[in-house]
């Protein structure tokens, strides 16, 4: 399946761009992360410490082991600091 992967804040900066279009067979977020890490060094560096990363599947917060089947938009970002 094809998903849009979005990056925010320092993830976006480390990767160097705000989104990737990804063709994937990943069943979970974690599997997708493994695939993204393999793209290049920047992705590998950005995803080095998963405890510092949060994920949203189709704009809802999710766990890293959540299934992504059918998802269209998956976003990665650091813990939120609004308010």
């Amino acid at each position: 399946m094809r998903v849009t992967v979005l990056y925010f804040a320092w993830l976006r900066e480390r990767i160097g761009h705000a989104q990737d279009q990804v063709e994937t067979d990943a069943a979970t977020v974690t599997e997708l992360v493994d695939q993204l890490r393999a793209r290049d060094d920047r992705h590998a560096l950005a995803f080095a410490d998963l405890t510092a990363i949060r994920v949203a599947i189709d704009q809802d917060l999710a766990d890293l082991d959540a299934p992504i089947t059918g998802a269209r938009e998956i976003a990665f970002f650091p813990p939120m600091t609004g308010g």
């Binding site: 925010f8 804040a9 976006r12 949203a56 917060l61 813990p79 939120m80 600091t81 609004g82 308010g83």
Partner: protein
């Protein structure tokens, strides 16, 4: 129906408070909160990044949870994004209720959830450079109060 606003433009805290209180003057209690950019440690500017689409969705959900949990006549969340300077209001929430306990609790709840569950990220600029603000463990822990 909560009033949710996500905008780059500055807002007039007093004017929004006044309009909210006026619109909900059949409620006896109005509580409002305003977050302001603190210019400490030589802060020159702040930049707020957000996730368009998810932001509005997350704020709606937070306000609706508050309206389900407490008896409210109205709720408002307004949050800016983009560049800000010290002393400027970043965001505000407001609640209206018949009883003050509901208005206080709901505003406090919305702030706690907004801090850790709405997709905003702050970057600070100083003479020494730029850095992303780190989330505080305290903010995540605050959610366990509810």
């Amino acid at each position: 129906m909560p009033d949710i606003r996500v905008q780059p433009d500055p807002f007039d805290y007093g004017q929004v408070c006044a309009a909210f209180a006026q619109a909900h003057c059949d409620n006896g209690a109005i509580v409002s909160f305003c977050g302001i950019v603190r210019g400490e440690n030589g802060l020159q500017a702040m930049e707020i990044e957000h996730y368009p689409g998810m932001t509005e969705r997350a704020l709606h959900r937070i306000a609706e949870q508050a309206m389900t949990r407490w008896t409210l006549g109205g709720a408002l969340i307004l949050h800016r994004h983009g560049p800000l300077t010290p002393g400027e209001p970043i965001m505000m929430v407001a609640t209206a209720a018949r009883h003050r306990a509901d208005a206080f609790a709901a505003a406090d709840f919305m702030m706690d959830y907004l801090k850790s569950r709405a997709p905003f990220w702050k970057k600070e600029r100083r003479a020494s450079g730029e850095r992303w603000v780190a989330a505080r463990d305290l903010d995540e822990q605050a959610l366990s109060r509810w």
